[in-house]
């Protein structure tokens, strides 16, 4: 491993951080990251310092050798013959048993991306494993099994293609990314075997978001047990429960905490009370547990294709007005639409780079909720984004690329299945695309609760369209649209009993009174420029976080009722004694 690798991107930084965490010896100099079978047999181990590994690979051998001694004393002797003495010495063998190659994270990632090209015929979406030091590919094969004679047949064909290209791999098929990762990364007795001319391995994991039929397991390969593992529908909890906890993708620190508590398997981890987890484990660990249970969805971030769809315009006469730029963009969009229609793919994000006459570059990206081939929609969302661009000088060149996905497989519906929800979903997708591209991707989101006692942190907003520059996972649009628009016949009876919380929560609590020597609440409060007298106070409700929490909170909350009947949510900061207004029960 090269301990002085240059810091370039966040992914590579994460990889190096992970390596240093797993192999502390890497902090002191180069060390071994991975080994082949021959190297293992020679005694080289991952984490071993390079110098030690080299010595393992170049064993010392004792050979008898003639020594010719010459000295001033001996020169005076007769020259009848040379005197020779046999003395055992130690000489190092010059033959290396293994060869050493420098590792770089970026090279590994490039190699995986190249392997991904081999898999594109099997799945519309191919992405990298999200963990640091990725060694897996994730394929979404929803609906693809029947095209290849079943999921098992698909997996076998994929393994065959990899083998022809010189790779060996392991495949798992399940409903969630967490499950397939756990199956493919459970340690086996035999060490990993690498391709003869490269040092990285390819473990290909296949995930399936919708399962219909149970499939048989694949035959054993020569090097691994069970190179193809398929979890039948409904069997996921049992199958992953037996796996060791290292397969859960929890951060190293959380694994150490759990090991200290005697938690060794995923079954033991999942049996822990979920409400206690946030206080003991990190947020990432809690998220991983939810993913293992299938409570939180994960999405695959697609890898860009090697032969991207693109269009370019440049001219010695720059475009000076918005109308000119829009005309150029329309022309480019039409070219893009033609290319994607020819390749039978669809556009999910449109990315344009505008080069100004001065050389400055501006990036314009527009996303859609449902992948589209429509030039009209692509141009509309791009136009909305263009309106928000701070453009102050003429543009001399525009290049446009797209993030593409294969056209969604149209599912044959039953004869009498209701279809009245299809058009509203499509209209909603178009609305979300318009709003997100005019006001920004963060402006349109769905809401979920997270376990945090602090009111301002108890809700998580998930943008429906991920930012094109974001490294976070893109949401599954079909599922989101269906969830948003699906009617609930039992909606009237779905009232949840929750703690009383205001409908309007101020983004920043407003100070209403200073510290009182006797901690008395304020008698008056100013709202909308008018003074109101507080006539009733209900509480306190104490909200306190652990001392080690980032931005801890120590507050006593009260519901204050004014003389006009208005209900306010105020609190006293226990550390400073200052009173704040936090919300209105509107």
């Amino acid at each position: 491993m090269d301990s002085t690798a240059p810091r370039k991107t966040t992914d590579i930084d994460d990889d190096l951080k992970f390596v240093r965490a797993v192999f502390p010896s890497a902090n002191g100099g180069p060390c071994i990251l991975a080994v082949s079978r021959d190297a293992w047999m020679a005694g080289v181990r991952p984490g071993m310092p390079l110098a030690e590994a080299r010595s393992m690979a170049q064993p010392l051998t004792i050979t008898p050798r003639a020594v010719h001694r010459t000295s001033t004393q001996n020169r005076t002797r007769s020259n009848t013959g040379k005197s020779a003495t046999l003395r055992p010495t130690v000489a190092a063998s010059t033959k290396e048993l293994v060869s050493f190659h420098q590792w770089t994270s970026s090279a590994d990632r490039r190699t995986l991306a190249a392997v991904a090209e081999l898999t594109r015929r099997y799945a519309p979406v191919v992405g990298l494993d999200c963990m640091p030091l990725p060694d897996s590919l994730l394929l979404d094969i929803t609906g693809c099994g029947p095209l290849f004679g079943g999921e098992a047949a698909l997996a076998e064909l994929l393994l065959r293609d990899l083998k022809l290209a010189g790779w060996t791999g392991r495949i798992a098929i399940a409903d969630t990314i967490a499950a397939v990762w756990a199956l493919t990364h459970t340690e086996h007795a035999a060490p990993e075997v690498r391709r003869s001319t490269q040092i990285s391995t390819s473990n290909t994991s296949t995930s399936n978001a919708a399962r219909r039929n149970a499939s048989r397991a694949g035959e054993n390969a020569q090097l691994y047990e069970l190179p193809i593992q398929i979890i039948p529908p409904g069997m996921q909890p049992q199958e992953i429960a037996r796996l060791p906890i290292a397969a859960s993708r929890l951060p190293l620190k959380d694994l150490q905490i759990l090991a200290h508590l005697g938690i060794r398997s995923i079954a033991q981890l999942l049996s822990l009370p979920r409400e206690d987890l946030p206080s003991r484990l990190s947020q990432v660990a809690v998220e991983r547990v939810h993913q293992l249970l299938g409570l939180t969805e994960e999405s695959i971030i697609p890898l860009p294709e090697s032969n991207p769809v693109a269009a370019v315009w440049n001219s010695e006469f720059p475009a000076k007005s918005f109308d000119d730029i829009r005309q150029v963009l329309q022309h480019l969009v039409e070219s893009i639409a033609e290319q994607i229609e020819r390749r039978r793919i669809a556009c999910s994000v449109l990315i344009s780079e505008l080069t100004c006459a001065s050389g400055n570059k501006l990036t314009l990206s527009a996303g859609v909720v449902k992948p589209t081939q429509s030039a009209e929609l692509m141009f509309e969302v791009l136009g909305l984004r263009l309106e928000t661009l701070p453009l102050t000088e003429p543009v001399s060149a525009i290049s446009m690329t797209v993030q593409t996905v294969p056209i969604p497989v149209s599912r044959q519906r039953d004869l009498f299945s209701p279809t009245e929800h299809i058009r509203p979903q499509e209209e909603l997708a178009t609305l979300i695309a318009r709003l997100s591209n005019r006001m920004g991707p963060q402006s349109v989101s769905t809401v979920r609760i997270q376990a945090d006692p602090r009111p301002e942190h108890s809700l998580v907003l998930d943008p429906v369209i991920a930012n094109a520059d974001s490294t976070e996972r893109a949401p599954q649009s079909e599922h989101i649209l269906q969830r948003l628009t699906e009617p609930d016949p039992d909606a009237i009876n779905n009232t949840e009993r929750t703690l009383p919380r205001p409908l309007r929560l101020l983004a920043t609590p407003q100070q209403i009174a200073g510290r009182d020597s006797e901690d008395r609440p304020p008698e008056r409060i100013s709202i909308l420029g008018q003074q109101r007298r507080i006539v009733e106070l209900h509480g306190p409700e104490r909200i306190q976080t652990a001392w080690w929490t980032d931005k801890p909170c120590h507050r006593d909350y009260f519901r204050a009722i004014t003389e006009t009947g208005a209900q306010l949510w105020i609190y006293r900061d226990l550390q400073t004694g200052i009173w704040y207004l936090h919300g209105l029960f509107d």
């Binding site: 009245e420 058009r423 402006s443 949840e496 920043t508």
Partner: protein, 268 residues
């Protein structure tokens, strides 16, 4: 034509006009689940595809909570609940206690907006100059109104809710046209300062607090809802009494009504 014949013709014409009005207003009516409120609403519920204004006598009087409770039955239909949250204050967790599932909620927040209550407190942003503050607030308000209109035009949305303080007649007219075409229901929570302004709403409801002396039971807070305007159908006079639980903040109906009788003529 004799005077009697003329009177008969006018009476017949009035009956035909009323009948044609009722035909135009054949919309899906959904009872709110609050019996006292349904009793004062035309046809006993809220019409889908309409513009409804809830006006609150004062901030913090639970008008929005009552509005949310009243639209829960609309969640039995296709479409999502969109919240246009201009001031980034809407706390979705509270909506759950009124029966709104978070899975059906789409939250729309313009990228930059100053808190409405912060502005009311007269607190300037510490790191922003006054002029930039005003410009950004205007841009955010424009974006919010644009988002409201776009959302109201989308058949994939069942209900869109927004706290709207000020809006011009042109904006309100556009919203009215949008709901007529799309069938979306717009629910606007508005301050008492707009009471004297003309309304384009199908329904305008006014929420006030019941004075403690008249409330009787002091453990619970009572609210009065008056129907100020109904664009279609007949109008009941009177008001509905609702009560708010202290523990959970949930809103319930009180069955007694004050002086409720059907009117003999349309509201306008």
């Amino acid at each position: 034509m004799s005077a009697a014949a003329k009177a008969e013709a006018i009476h017949s014409l009035r009956r035909q006009l009323l009948a044609s009005q009722r035909m135009q207003t054949v919309q899906q009516i959904l009872p709110t689940g609050l019996t006292s409120l349904d009793a004062i609403l035309p046809h006993g519920g809220l019409p889908a595809g309409s513009l409804i204004e809830w006006i609150s006598e004062d901030a913090g009087l639970k008008a929005a909570s009552i509005a949310l409770k009243s639209i829960v039955p609309m969640m039995t239909l296709h479409g999502c609940l969109a919240i246009v949250d201009e001031h980034h204050e809407f706390y979705a967790d509270s909506a759950r206690s009124h029966g709104i599932p978070l899975s059906r909620m789409l939250l729309i927040r313009p990228v930059y907006a100053a808190s409405g209550v912060q502005a009311a407190f007269g607190l300037a942003q510490a790191t922003t100059s006054r002029s930039r503050f005003v410009r950004q607030a205007s841009a955010a308000h424009s974006d919010a109104l644009w988002a409201l209109e776009q959302t109201a035009r989308c058949p994939g949305v069942r209900v869109v809710l927004m706290f709207l303080e000020q809006a011009s007649s042109a904006v309100m007219r556009r919203l009215q046209l949008a709901v007529e075409r799309s069938g979306v229901t717009i629910v606007l929570i508005r301050p008492a300062s707009i009471l004297n302004q003309p309304s384009f709403a199908d329904l305008r409801l006014y929420v006030t607090t019941v004075k403690p002396a008249l409330a009787g039971i002091t453990e619970r807070r009572q609210l009065k809802v008056q129907l100020l305007r109904s664009r279609h159908g007949l109008q009941h006079t009177g008001h509905a009494l609702l009560e708010v639980e202290h523990e959970t903040g949930a809103v319930h109906s009180i069955s007694e009504l004050a002086d409720s009788k059907p009117a003999t003529s349309p509201a306008f």
